[in-house]
Amino acid sequence: MKPTPDTDTVVRAPSIKAARPKAKPDTRRRRFSLRSVLLWLLLLLSAGLFLALAALPVGRVASAAISVGVVAAAFVLGRFARRIWHARTLTVLLLAFVTFRYFFWRLTGTLPPVDDPVNFIPGVTLFAAEAISFVLFLTSLFVIIDPIAREPSEPKGDPASWPSVDVFIPSYNEEPELLETTLAAAVCIDYPRDKLHVYLLDDGGTDQKLAHADPDLAAAAKVRRETLTALCERLQVTYMTRPRNEHAKAGNINHAFKKTDGDLVLILDADHVPTVGILKATVGFFQQDSGLFLVQTPHFFVNPDPVEYNLGTFERMPSENEMFYYSIQPGLDRWNGSFFCGSAALLRRAALEEVGGFSGDTVTEDCETALELHSRGWRSVYLPRPLIAGLQPETFDSFIAQRSRWTQGMIQLFLLKNPLFKRGLSVPQRLCYLSTMLYWFFWFWRPIFLLSPLCYALFGLEIYRINLPDFACFVIPHVFAAAFLSQFLHGRMRWPLFSELYEYLQSFHVSRAALATLIRPRDPVFKVTAKGQSVEEDGFSPLATPFILVTLLLMVGLAACAWRYSIYPEHRAAILPVAVWNSLSLLLALGGLAVVYERKRVRRQERFTVDRSAELTFADGTSIDVTAADVSAGGVRLLVDPRWRELLGRQEEPVLTIAATEAEAATTTGVRIYRVDMRNGVLSVGTGFAPRDRQDIVEAARFVFGNSVGWDDFLDRKRVGAPTFFGGLLFFATRVVPRLGHVLLALPGALRRILTFQAP
């Protein structure tokens, strides 16, 4: 993008019209140049031939041979993919070819006959599920074919000319301690003081809440408002609330939006703690492009979600959202399709004003707003740097509540503002949004994929006409190539079977919300995701019932396959593929069971490993040298020489001074000693922050969230340990199998409760 003449001076456009992105005068002419026409012709011809070859009904031996050849070629080309764009794209296309072949074969050779409705109807349903996921596969390939890797863009010019930024931190029911961390980090953001304004937008203390009919709730709201007002005064943050809780989060932000005037708006969720450099890394983009409305950054989570926690993968495997933030969003960015994700994003006020603020027709106001602005020609940018640290839902039911809202919102968008028919969007943008929205129909295809083998195993329905040779020559190459492709594209971020596991875990409960939305698209209302909940003891989640039943059904299905295999020799060629499919489903179902059998979880701050020299000074002036070993938003763990054990036992709050480094300034704050343990010949001292004043709060926040280098290291450490495809399968098994003992022990009780119509 060429910088506009006013790049280094004015960010806020003098008028809305002036802020509209201007089409480059030569773009249209170039689009129709002879060269591009010829290139398009070549592209279309080669794409047509590519599809024709994929559709060619060569025999199964030829097909299998081609698949093997393609996978081998892709394996070799994949070695050069990081360095050579062409090698990456060739690899992707070759592997996709196998899937194309499978799909055409599936379409032409495996559907039950129409005159057999008992098989045809479920067969077509299964095919429809495959077809939708195939369309998603295609659009996803388009999205990620040419991703952009951006670097931070610092603001340029005289700081006095930098755009002013309003930081909006909407809150509804979060605890003050949680908010304190976020607010403290926000005020620490490295940006000219006169151009940075932090707002706590409290929807938990609105006039409506204060006047609630229930006196207890009204009193609680009043206390909340007073507490947060005091907190804001202490941190020099503007507390803002509103008369009524209308339009949920979007309404809250819009209310503040009208009362503020910053050129840019930084939106942070209440539990999203920003780094000090968040604005320095992003504001420059707005200076470079006056048509830019959004810079989105990834959401980096410091706590495990229920899957990560219950399977123990958090420390070893990248989180679920990393594929989206580090593979898909850079791909979307290429097509100017990167969209607002609700937090950790900087937006241009002028653009928002053009559409009347944040949209509130759906419960995913973020994506909706981005869709509106993209359709009006505004541009977006995605910066793949973790610049905030947030919290994920920690219990399975809060996780499901969050995903239900996202699903509802995306389905609302699909129905109410379908990108395929939305005026103003470019074709690539339509495909990008379509891809994003289609994903949220996983609740349709995932259970179908999972349960389809039961149609044959239990009822003998032949909904997918296949035999062993076809299975070997078409299905296995497809599955392998698809897994290889996934591994190739996202292997560092998403390990085998975990995508399927997440979809499976969400699908049953999300489907209820999704179906309700399909029937009444305008009904869903915004529900705040609960964070910081805890699990008191080991046991099945209240939402575990469908997973238990599905697992049992699949076990019965596998047994039925064995029975059929023994008693129907003439059908063995069909039974074996079903049994393999059923087994894979069962493996996934067992994984699901291992997740919904939740481990006891106490709430605690997540810690990051550091290695910084520090000094602990007591009230009597005694100072001892210590080492800061790890840090969390709540405190620091120190390593101390054992000879100071007695000193550490005093009931006082010493002052911790962490020494400066080349990159970071020294930090001084009061701490409280909670425990002292001897580990490996060294005293391990747990401390909590006990700030003496605002300065301590700010410095502690700056220390903890000062920069995201540690986060990058944390992410990279997990990515470099990515296994191969088969290693990933083994990893999955090693995460699930050890949990099954507990699960099986608890299963009879859970079943008993299910049979008596209680939650397990």
């Binding site: 060569v58 794209t89 008693i567 129907y568 003439e570």
Partner: protein, 836 residues
């Protein structure tokens, strides 16, 4: 009604019956002269004159066409049969059915040698025209009650020694036109050839063409039996005294005389000739006595007219078997419409067919081995993709105490195609059991699918305790599912020719095969007869009359597909330009084969040493040791290969035939008229290039043909691509001399060699029942339905399935181009978006 007359029962009654018969004859003779018509059962089918029924139960049906006889008084079915020694007599029988009614239940106790049985049938049971004789055996092993034991069970009916005798008061009445068709197909004269009488010593194109039409209709009337047609020359006026019609030396009772009135008049006589006042059809009986009329019912049919055009009309009306002829002895053809196309033969295209649709009823078999058969008829051009399969969905049931190893086997065209394990663990019900049958085993035309269930008993093989035998039921709800296949003909292929007549006849794709040139080179009538026999057989397999353009002699190479018949030494060199064997070597080979076959026919087989010496001389000649030496002094030195030995073509007649063929072409082409000619030519050119990718040329090894000196061929049927750019097919039928071709054509039918044809060439001798097959040396492909995208895709898939390296290279190339074009298109946008 049924006469169960086992041999053992017949013997004590014989003297009494004989006496009664003699008395009856003695009384009856003065009153009337009885007609006794004996039909050997060997007349009812081609091939070996015997029927063998295997296993515990098997059914064989024979089709007998009986002539109309007046006053039928007695019908006797005489059978000679034998059976294996292992059949338990108490449990073995052979039931005989006539037209569905049981007439005998013969015991299978004939293991000491053949036994005779005579079954007197009520006259009302049979009817003029088509009748069906069915043999059905039921047998059980004496000692081994297991699957293996069933292979010892057999019964054989000696057809040559068995007969159906019709005794009537009036014999066959004088024929009329309607009756003539029955008489043509009647089984009592099945071994007699159809004689087409040729007036004049010089064969002309008209006569060849008319004869070809009549021969085709004869082939259609005969059903499955191989037609034999001979040409009988009669000297024209002036050359020699013309005999009267009644005194013609005819080879049999089935004769057709064709020609213009003027040409036939000397033969017919004034009175008969005067009746020809337009397109004329008539039939005259041949008086009893003499070779032709010995048995009565012989006839000479006349197709004539005042002009060749009127003869055309008469011949076409005679050949049109879809329209009955009137019950009168002569007629002037008033409805001169061209023969109507018969309803298309049912063929099974892509789709699912229940066995009941294929004429296979539900069967229940009690025993240890069931064998059944049904036929799947695939269209011309059936060309499946390499390893795809036709699915056989089996619905069936079995019960009884089955042992391990129970299996349901399926064979396609005699080759193992699939098996389904059935054993005691199964439920007893087979519901939609899926068995893939490789499509490569199927071919265009009829395909025989044999289903065999082996049901070993669970409790050992002791027959004493084998009270309850396993039962197997194959339900007619079972189905065959045919996936999509390409419509592509790969030629040369005598198998396709033998099964479907393509490219000369039949329907290929949506269009009938185009007219073809019938070229006869050779003065001897045997060549004309051979050509007519060929077209008659082709019409039979095509199921319809074909349109021919006749040529006698060789002026120019044919411009269409051609069937060329002539002596190998008289054929011009241009015939062999593209043939798989060089003309001179083929001539030497066939001459040598003729010598051996002739010796065998005389009953003096050539000694093995002489045969080997003969073969050695051939090889020496081919190795270039010297010029081709005459093989035997008795055989005249062959004339030079070049040049056209036949008479100059009758330009007027040929143009008329060409015009008629052109009309057919236009009619046939009307359906596909939307496709411009240039597109057709372009597609043909593309097909030529595809040929280059997909076919391997394999020249025939002539020397290898002499390795087995015991059966050097005396006749050859070669198919190859005509010289030039057009994808035209020539099929050459040749031998060294007229007697050889007569013998060869007879053995083609009698020995059942027609069904053994495949590949690019067949060489055979009447001295043997073996056929030597030549692989196609330069295969080429014809795309049927060339403007059907689906068909083109399937053709491409079929061809690329055989060239995986080509497919892979194409894929890599395409992907590379796609990648590069994407990169070039995306690069600028990427730079703009990333700001780099």
């Amino acid at each position: 009604m049924a006469a169960h007359v086992p041999q053992t029962a017949v013997r004590p009654l014989m003297p009494a019956l004989l006496a009664a018969l003699l008395l009856w004859i003695g009384l009856a003779v003065p009153a009337l002269a009885a007609d006794r018509r004996v039909i050997p059962l060997s007349n009812l089918r081609d091939g070996q004159p015997e029927v063998t029924l295997h296993g515990e139960t098997e059914t064989v049906a024979l089709r007998a066409i009986l002539p109309p006889v007046a006053g039928l008084t007695s019908v006797v079915l005489a059978l000679t049969y034998e059976n294996g020694i292992d059949i338990l007599p108490e449990k073995g029988s052979m039931a005989v059915y006539i037209n569905g009614s049981p007439v005998a239940d013969l015991p299978l106790a004939a293991f000491r040698g053949p036994v005779n049985a005579a079954i007197t049938l009520p006259a009302s049971l049979i009817r003029p025209g088509e009748n069906q004789i069915v043999f059905q055996t039921n047998a059980q092993h004496r000692a081994i009650c297991s699957v293996r034991g069933t292979y010892d069970l057999w019964a054989r009916v000696n057809l040559a020694a068995s007969s159906l005798t019709l005794v009537s008061d009036g014999g066959v009445p004088d024929p009329d036109l309607a009756m003539m068709r029955h008489l043509l197909a009647a089984s009592d004269r099945a071994r007699e050839p159809l004689a087409i009488i040729e007036v004049g010593s010089e064969a002309d194109a008209d006569h060849l063409g008319w004869g070809a039409m009549v021969a085709q209709s004869y082939g259609l009337l005969l059903g499955d039996q191989t037609p034999r047609v001979v040409a009988v020359p009669v000297p024209a006026k002036g050359a020699a005294p013309v005999p009267a019609l009644e005194s013609l030396p005819l080879p049999g009772g089935k004769n057709v005389l064709i020609g213009t009135r003027d040409r036939l008049a000397p033969l017919l006589g004034e009175a008969r000739a005067a009746a020809i006042t337009g397109p004329f059809l008539g039939v005259y009986p041949i008086p009893p006595g003499g070779k032709a009329g010995a048995a009565g019912g012989g006839f000479v049919a006349i197709a004539s007219g005042r002009t060749p055009q009127e003869v055309d009309q008469a011949v076409m009306r005679l050949a049109d078997v879809s329209r009955p002829l009137p019950t009168q002895t002569a007629m002037i053809v008033a409805d001169a419409a061209p023969p109507a196309a018969p309803p298309p033969r049912p063929v099974q295209a892509e789709g699912r067919y229940r066995l009941s649709d294929l004429g296979f009823p539900t069967v229940q078999h009690s025993g240890y081995r069931y064998a059944g058969r049904f036929t799947l008829t695939l269209p011309t051009g059936f060309a499946p993709v390499g390893d795809r399969a036709i699915l056989f969905h089996v619905d069936g049931a079995f019960e009884g105490n089955l042992g391990p190893g129970a299996v349901l086997n399926v064979r396609v065209n005699g080759r193992p195609a699939g098996a389904m394990e059935i054993d005691k663990r199964s439920s007893g019900i087979i519901e939609n059991g899926e068995m893939p049958l490789p499509m490569a085993l199927f071919r265009p035309g009829p395909n025989s699918i044999d289903v065999e269930a082996e049901l070993p008993p669970g409790g050992g093989t002791d027959c004493v305790f084998a009270v309850r035998r396993p039962t197997f039921t194959l339900l007619d709800s079972s189905s065959i599912e045919i996936p999509g296949f390409a419509r592509l003909v790969t030629l040369p292929d005598l198998g396709t020719l033998g099964n479907t007549s393509y490219p000369y006849g039949g329907v290929a794709g949506d269009e009938p095969a185009p007219p073809f040139d019938l070229v006869v080179v050779g003065r001897d009538p045997a060549w004309t007869g051979a050509a007519w026999s060929m077209v008659a057989k082709l019409a039979q397999r095509a199921g319809d009359l074909m349109t021919v353009v006749p040529y006698t002699g060789w002026d120019l190479p044919p411009s269409d597909n051609a069937l060329i018949v002539g002596p190998v030494a008289a054929l011009p060199q241009s015939v062999f330009t593209a043939a798989p064997l060089p003309g001179d070597r083929l001539a030497g080979l066939l001459e040598a084969g003729a010598l051996i076959a002739q010796a065998s026919a005389r009953g003096e087989p050539m000694p093995a040493a002489d045969r080997r010496a003969l073969a050695e001389r051939l090889r020496l000649g081919w190795s270039g040791a010297g010029a081709r030496a005459p093989l035997r002094t008795g055989l005249a030195s062959p004339p030079p290969l070049a040049g056209a030995p036949g008479s100059a073509a009758d330009g007027g007649a040929q143009s008329r035939w060409q015009r008629m063929a052109g009309d057919v072409k236009e009619t046939a082409g009307a359906g596909g008229g939307w496709v411009p000619e240039w597109a057709r030519r372009g597609m043909a050119a593309a097909a030529r290039y595809i040929n280059r990718w997909t076919v391997d040329e394999a020249p025939a090894d002539v020397v290898a043909l002499t390795e087995n000196a015991d059966s050097l061929p005396e006749a050859a049927l070669l198919q190859y691509r005509a010289p030039g750019n057009e994808a035209l097919t020539w099929t050459l039928l040749t031998a060294s001399d007229a007697r050889s071709v007569e013998r060869a054509m007879r053995s083609l039918g009698d020995a059942g060699l027609w069904d053994k044809l495949h590949g690019g060439g067949a060489l055979w001798t009447s001295a043997s029942t073996a056929v030597t097959t030549l692989e196609p040396n330069r295969p080429y492909q014809l795309i049927l339905e060339p403007f059907d995208i689906g068909n083109l895709i399937l053709i491409l898939a079929r061809n690329l399935s055989q060239r995986i390296e080509l497919l892979f290279a194409l894929l890599l190339g395409t992907t590379l181009v796609l990648t590069i074009s994407m990169r070039l298109l995306l690069k600028r946008g990427h730079q703009e978006r990333s700001g780099s």
